[in-house]
Symmetry: C3
Subunit: 682 residues, 3 copies
């Protein structure tokens, strides 16, 4: 199974014509025509429309929507529509509704509201998915299946408790093994019957909300179970589709979304897709990180950007419009990292409910003379001009950053040290330094093959699972660089501390022992002086301060204050031909730049525009062709000499090496590079 | 039906002698005598006293209290006492207790604790009101009925759910119509049975509390329903009273209190009354606004100030005492805006429970030599000296400010743009500018007759209902001025966006189109330059920034920064003989001053003391008599030339026009103006 | 009954070997040997281990643990293990689980999770305690019983409601008396059946959490009841132990822990013990206060420090390690205030659950070459060198500070004035001033005998109970000094305001009347000028400002601003031979220093090192021996001339009077003073 078949970068987005009279539909398609929109995702919340009662389907609206799309020459990504249950279902089968973290059974409302253990939900969702697949498998417009929507949240009902027990039996086999893994001698928790086990929530192990649990092991297991339990509902729908259709299926993910372990889901997607709603206007590196994370789900395969806002969102307290050029810039960034579809939420703005002010391609008045529509249409023309050039391309990354949901959960559930050391913050900070330096980076699971990478960055890998230490050692032994950061190697797969000094399984590799772990309040910095090979950097650490004893490693950085002033903060160990860095505190940006640029330089992986802050450099290759993207996020006009000669995509302009390139604010330049023999920029 | 019959400004307040031995009562009346206190509100929480069991009333304490009042020559406003249910009622009929927003059925406690749908509560409350009316209808002390107390809050129980469905059937008739109004195609919400409908709360449509709902339409309807449902309990008690007594009835409101739509209640009150507990010491314009709002409930008729604190309150985290003179100043302000009764909460301080430290006329020791008592007594003497001069007066307002609960709810439930643009803040900001300029302002519902106004201010009227656009146009056509502000005209009565550019029905009137709505974080200002007729003002906007396209209107103000620098922020359209302003952002105070003073000047409505900040100017007229109030809220002594000649109330001093008036801090001066032929100050 | 028999200051702490393989136990004891650790507290959470089912005990692990301890020559404080119920118990008898403040019945999880009213919990906890006592009463290692653990929290279930009613019947006898005490005429609360009474929580009298109640009387009674109800479970277990063993019993308290009134518990402990987890690194005076509070529970008898962290804790958002020397300094501080056991939590760090990063004597790797272990071992050697010198000593305090849970509850439940005037803050502020001045202070209940004290400090005693005013007057009449502060004497034992001006029963004693109580926001200070006997102090007050009228007292301090500028803020009344101070606001530190140093000087109670900030001075006497402790909390090296001649404990060095003593940061010096005839330093 692979990506849907499309002739060029697909363009469009969520389309909910059922919210409007049919007279509007023709206007929609006329507007789509103006904007080169060729792909629509349909039906995400159509259950109450398509199944008005348990014993009755009504496909008339969907038929009309799809037929019109086919007639107009547009493709459809068809949703199963199960992300919001219909009112009759919630009333008829209350077990369909979720019980929340506070232990309260919800009644009908909102969306993403089904208990994944509910047999009634599962039975009827599967039936609906099957019915849709049966009806539309051969429809000429349909190119892909969209199962559910933004899976997430959790349920804590009695059915989930029972499913959790089943999941635990499968994982642990015996209560003795479970008691061992959960450290049940603590606080009188030895379980003597499976039925004694209850979900960890506000009525059992938690206080102060989801991050504070008496038993990290129980809560991490529930997070794993819940992710698997949601995945089961996805898989059941997918199986129902497969009985009728072999078209590729996906579900739209949410980037680095904590409650669901996308790495456990990835094998069950035919292709990855996600919804990009960055928190603010300064999220360029964060988005790049998430694109790389999504790309990493399917081993580097291109993905779909299922949703982004054409302009403002509506879900935040403050929702600015996207400034002129920003939507285009971010859309090209998605393509630069592997997107083959650029989708908007949504095509026409709802008149009612909570998304009625959510930015859209067509506003309430349906105008095509708005700034947003003009920008959408202009970008559509660009994608049309590009044709199929970028389809099937890959990012030639030599740098991997390990990302791990288990470590995320373990880190942020841990009592002790500092709760301000947040997993995603650390991962983003390291990625930002690499991104700024123009490195091509993959974000991959700890189980990923590391053979293809020169540099592997391991931010705060609290949980050391399986053979990861051995595989990192192999990277170093063959000459690679490994960078490990504070609070790594603390616990095993059961969230049990190793009976060894931190960083546990990474201690020999890094050549350090953590003797103590100090913590200070946010803003209480400790100066760190870094020095190596004639280069120095005065930087600082925050939050946690591991007191390191070098056991083989060279000291590269030392703390500047407190009772451990002068002791190691950053070390580098020589392992085989390679180097293993260990960073014992949350270094600030300057420190991370210094470390990572040094590491990248060792492997000749610094990007050609690394000295231009905010000028993103991304590379895609397909067959013999190589495309270099320059994306100006800096907010100012940039002038840089071209690092390569080649041809500008869309315009066809010729660029010579060294020729000054002009990029206005939000400017984008995609250069198809002329390949020359011999080593060139990576 | 009209106001209670009183011979002068009535003076007194809440009196709960049942909390004390009878020996204390005589002391109380002796103190009342010292302070010219002539009216007491009695029995607000007396249910458990007067009805110790379902089958038994005990009126002995009330009899004694009322008889003593009559004997002492004081009037009584008698409460039905149903605002707090007795313990036996909560235990015998658990349906009497409310279910809260979190879905939790409460048990006995606090007050305002009855479910308005509970048949047992309704039956017994009505019986009690009837029994009281029967017993005391002819009592010589009783002059008015006080039904319930500070109606508010909401219930979400199954009885309320059923009543909600009944209310919806009456409103929508069919589920098709309800599905249309609620935009139920969104998120799979098409209802197929009335029974599927549940109240919107934390277990259904809401997250992050009452302001975040998936369906604005559902939540606004529940707010309307809940307000109506509470109103029904008031009406049922009133009907029971009417069977025995024709004395006027009221219930004490809470100013701009969001959960209850007082405009829907107003027809059912004989006269309006309210409790004034401003949030801080700088609330003079806010109190003026609320007085005007209350006055607007009954078409300008005088109202009662049922409660205010003689000194400190006890309900806040910090409760300062009222500084010397402040209680008198604020009391006169109430009279200046239409109060015919000035009441305190309370006459003698409780010894126990949560109001035991609430400021009172008599403290725990019952002393009359306290500062508070002395100030109370001095004011009583002033009111006594005034006699009946101000009874039945009116505020000759030529300016109306529209206030609308539906828009309040819609605005603050909306997802999108900025949640920091709060409805009441905007209304208060505009009112403050008018108040500072000395304009006499009515605060009226959108259904009010506008014929009598020269200026109509329309702050953030998110919901445009009925013929309001046409009636505003009529104001302009006959030469008036209309001021409309950002986020107006967004939705119809069903909280559905108009299929048109904002400001929707006001677009033609204002001569503008809102092309986009930007939002920025609090404190991120955009400079706005206003200029008209040789006057300029450098000001700024905040929160939301509508990108306006003038379609007929003149540009009066432009944004100074961001990508829309130089585009219109404020416009003025010529309509007939009049002018329609449109303000596309939340202008700061200086900007609002500039706009409103310009508008007022056009109609010669600037007050004579507009250049003295903090010196409030209020006018009351009755028959041929005109009273001008000067209230010094500035915190400093003020010296101003008198704008009119006349006689000072209370002292009888003569003032010539132009004579310097001295007002110390907290000073009050009431001038009965000598009427001269020809046009004078408005 | 008295303290456990030990030959020297005992040393050790919580030991949970059941969490580890037996191979580790021998390593543990080898490490204990290195550190002179001789006492282990065992079994605090062993219920699920020792009773795997209702009908079966399994003491095999405890047998082995205790036998090994005996064999290794260590003492055991044996816990009943009932602070965490086993899973089977929660499942079999759901009434065992608590119902929380929100009204939610919990299921199994965490610890301190048993409803104290549950008959099943009580029956089985008592049986377990009895079985343990029967089995181990004569075990050679066991020296004391440890019942439960850190009793706390509250339950609001129906069983507790019924027990509450029973408790109320015993307290009030009749509903009339209860209605009077609860001021039930307020808000329609007259109860007519006992069954109408429900616990005060979020479903009844409370809003905004536990501090906001409609009825202070109901909530204070529930706090009293809950404390008594928990105490009953302790007493039942103790009775079960007594059937088999006469060894002393305790439970570990938590210092100034608000939910449990330790003064009501104290008679039922054989000796007091507590867990010291200060909130930050600057808690030296706070810890001294809590040591004195614990000492005061048993009339000055020594106590045990049951738990402290060897280094970092794990329960906070940020958990710094203890700096070098700090653990030693704080341990000696405990001894200086009366500890005869210094215990750590815990001996070896857990591998799993929420305490796995909690600092411990032995870390996960079990190393003895860590800084923490080295410091622990060094201190053990010191205690070993001291031998039995300090056992049975007393603090010769001439200053008493009254502490009262009822006033704490009443103060922080009160609506009105300022919620920012927190009871414990005030008590700590006064104690800090006394501590800084080197006074020896007892913290005692209001019922304590005051005959032995020269100075009695009464911080914010909101509730004046019994004959406390008379007994304070007696202190003054015989020449003593009494210091009373703002918000004292407001309510009686029923939380009913006195029918008199504040400070109620203290008014005559203090010679003042509080005419009004102003409040301002935190940070809004009012300058206060203090002057007496040629000494002046410019200081300030915060939060509350009582407007005092001197009625016999001298004015010592006056307010500097607001409308009461120049009026009294601090007074001093001459009563008999003594003086009674009244402080009408929350004075800042400088003001409290001025007041308390003046008072202490009058009685010659200033410590000899009072001019060295952060240098704590503590005295212990036993028989003829007198020990003076110097504890350097200042963070800097200190050099002071010795006030007394004597011999340094541990080193045996001789010190002459006036000889310069050198104390490094965290330095400790214990001097056995040479007794000379005649008056010496107190």
């Amino acid at each position: 199974m692979t990506l849907p078949k499309i002739p060029r970068i697909a363009y469009g987005g969520d389309y909910n014509p059922e919210q409007w009279d049919e007279e509007v539909w023709r206007q929609d398609h006329a507007a789509f025509e103006l904007a080169n929109i060729d792909l629509l995702t349909v039906g995400a919340f159509s259950w109450s429309l398509t199944q008005p009662a348990e014993d009755r389907y009504d496909f008339s609206v969907l038929d009309a929507v799809l037929d019109l799309a086919a007639e107009e020459g547009r493709r459809i990504c068809l949703a199963t529509g199960t992300a919001g249950v219909p009112p009759w279902l919630a009333r008829k089968y209350p077990d369909v509704c979720r019980t929340d973290f506070e232990g309260r059974r919800h009644v009908f409302g909102q969306r993403h509201n089904a208990c994944p253990s509910s047999p009634n939900f599962r039975r009827l969702a599967v039936a609906l998915a099957g019915a849709l697949a049966e009806r539309y498998a051969e429809h000429p417009a349909v190119v892909a299946w969209h199962i559910g929507n933004e899976y997430g949240g959790a349920c804590y009902c009695e059915l989930c408790a029972e499913e959790f027990r089943t999941w635990l039996r499968a994982r642990y086999g015996t209560l003795d093994e479970l008691n061992r893994a959960w450290y049940a001698t603590f606080w009188s928790h030895r379980f003597t019957e499976w039925a004694e086990i209850v979900p960890p929530n506000a009525l059992s192990e938690h206080w102060r909300g989801p991050d504070h649990t008496a038993f990290q092991g129980i809560t991490v297991d529930y997070l794993r179970f819940n992710s698997d339990n949601l995945l089961r509902t996805y898989r059941e729908e997918k199986d129902a589709i497969r009985a009728h259709s072999q078209l590729p299926a996906t579900s739209n993910f949410m980037g680095a979304y904590k409650p669901v372990d996308y790495h456990r889901w990835a094998p069950h997607l035919d292709f990855a897709s996600w919804d990009n709603y960055p928190p603010d206007e300064h999220s360029a590196p964060r988005m790049a990180f998430q694109h790389a994370l999504l790309r990493g789900l399917k081993d580097g395969q291109p993905f779909w950007l299922m949703e982004q806002a054409p302009s403002a969102t509506a879900t935040r307290d403050v929702n600015p419009v996207k400034r002129p050029g920003v939507m285009r810039l971010w859309s090209w960034q998605a393509v630069a990292h592997g997107a083959e579809f650029v989708g908007f939420f949504q095509m026409r703005r709802s008149r009612g409910a909570c998304e009625k002010e959510f930015g859209s391609v067509l506003d309430h008045a349906g105008r095509t003379d708005t700034r947003t529509f003009r920008e959408v249409a202009a970008l559509g023309a660009e994608f049309d001009a590009v044709g199929n050039a970028l389809l099937g391309a890959r990012t030639p990354a030599r740098v991997a950053l390990l990302f791990d949901w288990d470590s995320w959960w373990a880190r942020e559930l841990t009592d002790g040290h500092s709760r301000h050391l947040r997993y995603l913050d650390v991962a983003l900070a390291h990625h930002r330094a690499l991104w700024d330096a123009g490195a091509q980076v993959d974000v991959v699971p700890v189980t990923a093959r590391l053979e293809g990478y020169d540099v592997v960055v391991v931010p705060t890998l609290e949980m050391a699972k399986g053979d990861i230490a051995e595989r990192l050692e192999a990277v170093a032994r063959r000459g690679g660089s490994v960078v490990i950061t504070a609070m790594s190697g603390r616990v095993d797969e059961d969230v049990l501390a190793f009976r060894a000094d931190p960083p546990g399984p990474f201690a020999d590799l890094a050549g350090v022992r953590v003797a103590e772990t100090d913590a200070r309040f946010p803003g209480e910095l400790n100066p760190v002086t870094l020095a190596a090979a004639g280069s120095e950097c005065a930087t600082s650490g925050e939050h946690v301060f591991e007191l390191l004893e070098a056991a083989g490693a060279d000291v590269v950085g030392t703390y500047g204050s407190d009772f451990y002033a002068g002791t190691p903060a950053v070390t580098r160990n020589h392992v085989g031909e390679g180097e293993v860095w260990y960073i014992g505190t949350a270094l600030d940006g300057a420190g991370l730049d210094w470390v990572h640029r040094g590491v990248l330089a060792r492997h000749d992986l610094l990007g050609p525009y690394a000295d231009h802050p905010g000028l993103e450099y991304a590379v895609r290759t397909v067959g013999d062709r190589r495309f270099e993207f320059l994306l100006n996020h800096s907010g100012e006009a940039v002038e840089v000499p071209a690092a390569s000669a080649g041809t500008v995509l869309v315009t066809g302009d010729r660029v010579e090496g060294g020729q000054l390139l002009q990029l206005p604010p939000t400017g984008v330049l995609v250069l198809e590079v002329e390949r020359v023999p011999g080593p060139g920029p990576k």
